[in-house]
Amino acid sequence: MSTELEPQTPEVTENDLEALIGDRALRRDDHLNAPGFVIRPDDVQDVLFDLRDEAGFDHLSCLTAQQYEDRYESIYHMKKYADPTQEVSVVVPTSVDNPVSQSAEPVFRTADWHEREAFDLVGIDYEGHPDPRRILLPETWQGHPLSKDYDQEQPQVVTLAEHANPIQPDHHDEESDTMFLNIGPHHPATHGVLHVKTVLDGETVVDIDPDIGYLHRCEEQMCQQGTYRHQIMPYPDRWDYVSAGLLNEWAYARAAEDLADIEVPEYAQVIRTMGAELCRIASHFLALGTFCLDVYGDFNAVFQYSFRDREVVQDILEDLTGQRLMFNYFRLGGVAWDLPEPRDEFIEKARDFLDELPAKISEYNDLVTGNEIFQVRCNDTGVLEPDLAKSYGCTGPVARASGIDYDLRRDDPYGYYENLDWDVITRQGCDNYARVLCRMEEVEESAKIIEQCLDLLEDWPEDDREIQANVPRTLKPDPDTEIYRAVEGAKGELGIYIRSDGTDKPARFKIRSPCFHNLSSLEEISEGDFIPDLIASLGSLDIVLGEVDR
């Protein structure tokens, strides 16, 4: 019938891209995952507009900035929401003396925060950026920590007199009728240390400005100082630290395995898939509980119920990995060890949990999603339109609740997902209620996946249980290989960019955090709402500041 209704997923070949970009491409700089085109710094908007509108690359997945000896480089990793296996990298080199590049913010809203981060950590200036401030480090910071001339040995001492207190300004505008309110960094509803500068007109939110970076722990740089083989894997557990550990580990594992060309045994993939989905369930339970904390107030039963149920998942994960939170269970090429002995007991325990799950879900539906007051509170608040969600690079349940049918487990298959029978949940509501429902239904889908994995694991022939591929003790991928790979984390697309320089440590390690993108949309979805809706929207985006700030 109408071709407009169909998602535009025609395969765009490299020739098409070459033709589209034409003379603007100075040369090719292909990455392992995608063709790369090097363009001039003042062609950025032009090329990105063309790629978005002509070739359908509507997802600016990530922006990586880095410094070489002779140049700075910004890499725009672009994908399609309709088909994330189609990727293209736009590489924008700028000179060391004058690192100025055109801002991509007019094309993709998400470039706003990404370019601020690139400026903050690497030191590239983006011309035409609407808000060129630091984002992770304090405004008073000197230098850019990931640039070559930055002296990392030199501690930065900020004297008390110079120290800018981020919550010192308590008035926005003396003349105006609005009220400026600092929500956070310590506030019951910020789910960590987030500081939201809010301008209120009565109870209505006029303007907000999330101030992040309180939990910045230099995760990217720490990963750059670790060896591929063993030293990086513990870090991902600490990004999204509320029980999404295995999902995070998989992000690194996938990128590094593709980079070093490691095949993972099928048996290990099944264990990985099962573990990852357990983490997803735990993470979604927590999201439900904390969201209810925001809508019900403290002392509510749902929060405790969800923690009670999450506890069962944690027990199973503890049996599997030996740890409750910081699992460190994946290895390049497989997992650390097989299912715990006795296997039957473990499998039975996991099955018991799955058997009890439907009753629990229906309890939540009675208590939470079926409650009229809850519906009145959540329907039509925090509305995130699909176009906006795409522009902000939202992924995961946040995007799927806005009707964007995007799930890397299905669209860019990895692990054992493509051999299993499950569905991607989407909802059309675009509001807080849809996001809650979406997560609840995803729990059921995850349970389906786990069930099938358990069946597979139970029947797996005993002499064929290979948990790790044969991986050399020291991994040294080919120099100047670049790769961007993503997995479906609990919160959305969790991507890793790695550039190798021939040593056993990555030369650049960039984390694409789904929470970072999802949080950046908060400004758009909460303006004009009331304060309670701002809090609810923040809760329904389900951010973990450890992953936002890295």
Binding site: D170, M179, L181, H187, P188, A189, E203, C292, L293, D294, V295, Y296, G297, D298, F299, N300, A301, F303, Q304, Y305, R308, L367, N371, I373, F374, V376, R377, F530, I531, P532, D533, I535
Partner: protein, 361 residues
């Protein structure tokens, strides 16, 4: 029967008179009567404060824990009861931090106003077993009036703290109390149509007549049974009045930190906290008096106070239940429910009751 002298109302004997009579203080004229009245007020006040003392640090925790699959305090004393002592010491020994820009003495007065307004209300409540301080002819109006003073305390607290969260909480408290006090009073008045009197003892007495007599037992004419619609309306409005879910917007811990009480610490915090619980209990006392037959219950009349306390705690339990299970409405929805819903319904109830009572009589 002991004859009272100072406060003679109906045929009930009030606590001050009884004390005056028992101690012989009534022989000393006005001074003696005053002293007896103080003694009586002291007893009632302490009874209520003791109840809040149990409710705040201990019962509330235990009740919430029961609702949420937990155990709560169980280390100090039997069933953790000594946590009351520990908490008192903890709260009272904390530094009382007063914000630099606080508007004093409003800041200092607010906790006292909040706590004392609730205590005043108990003066006219007949609690059974002869515990009844005063029985003025306008008892019901008096209790609504003094409970309403708490709003003033909340505004004072919210405004004088020089904190924006407090300010928002204070504003919300006023908007909420104005919106819900009218339905509360109007619904209360529908009871007066039945009784024809605002006097508390009269209201209780009317309810103790049997509604339906089955011979062996009789269903009393409690207004909760006579007019359940008014009872539900009153319960709802009362949730808003005491600021508990689904109407706990003035505090709204996840939105505006702790509302008007954000800046209060130490003793002041204790006073505000006490005031809140006293208000819940006062709400329970009003509900018990005008809808649940006051101290009436099976057994000898001396057990009246026990039944009365059970009824109050029943209402308290209900507020805690709501807190555990019901989401909070948004502030605009709260106002909408108040003005467009409860107000209309309460007037409809009043008019209908008036018509029905008119026809019956």
């Amino acid at each position: 029967m002991i004859e009272g002298t100072l406060i003679q109302a109906g045929d009930t004997v009030l606590l001050p008179e009884r004390i005056g009579d028992l101690t012989g203080l009534d022989q000393f004229g006005l001074a003696g009567e005053l002293l007896a009245a103080f003694l009586a007020a002291f007893i009632v006040g302490n009874l209520m404060l003791a109840m809040t003392g149990v409710a705040g640090p201990w019962a509330k925790r235990k009740i919430t824990a029961a609702f949420t699959d937990r155990i709560a305090v169980n280390r100090l004393g039997p069933a953790g009861l000594l946590i009351i002592v520990a908490d008192s010491v903890r709260l009272l020994s904390k530094e009382n931090i007063i914000p630099e820009n606080a508007d004093r003495p409003a800041y200092d007065l607010a906790p006292i106003v909040v706590a004392s307004s609730a205590l005043l209300g108990f003066a006219v409540i007949p609690m059974g077993s002869g515990i009844h301080l005063a029985d003025p002819e306008v008892g019901l109006v008096f209790v609504f009036a003094v409970a309403g003073i708490a709003s003033l305390g909340l505004v004072m607290a919210g405004y004088s703290s020089a904190n924006k969260y407090s300010m928002l909480g204070g504003l919300r408290a006023v908007a909420q109390n104005v919106a819900y006090e009218i339905p509360l009073v109007v619904t209360g008045m529908s009871v007066v149509i039945f009784t024809g009197s605002l006097q508390m003892s009269e209201i209780v007495a009317v309810q103790n007549q049997p509604l339906v007599d089955f011979g062996l037992f009789a269903i009393p004419a409690w207004f909760a049974i006579v007019n359940p619609f008014a009872f539900v309306l009153f319960l709802l409005a009362n949730f808003a009045e005491v600021g508990r879910n689904p109407f706990d917007t003035p505090e709204a811990p996840t939105e505006i930190v702790a509302g008007y009480q954000t800046e209060y610490s130490s003793v002041y915090f204790v006073l505000i906290y006490l005031g809140e619980f006293l208000h819940i209990f006062l709400g329970g006392a009003i509900i018990a008096t005008i809808f649940l037959g006051g101290p009436a219950g099976p057994g000898p009349e001396a057990l009246g106070i026990v039944w009365f306390i059970i009824k109050i705690w029943g209402v308290f339990l209900l507020t805690q239940w709501m807190r555990s299970a019901v989401p909070r409405v948004r502030v605009d929805q709260l106002i909408e429910i108040g003005w467009k819903g409860l107000l209309v319904l309460s007037f409809a109830n009043l008019i209908l009751t008036a018509i029905i009572v008119g026809i019956i009589q």
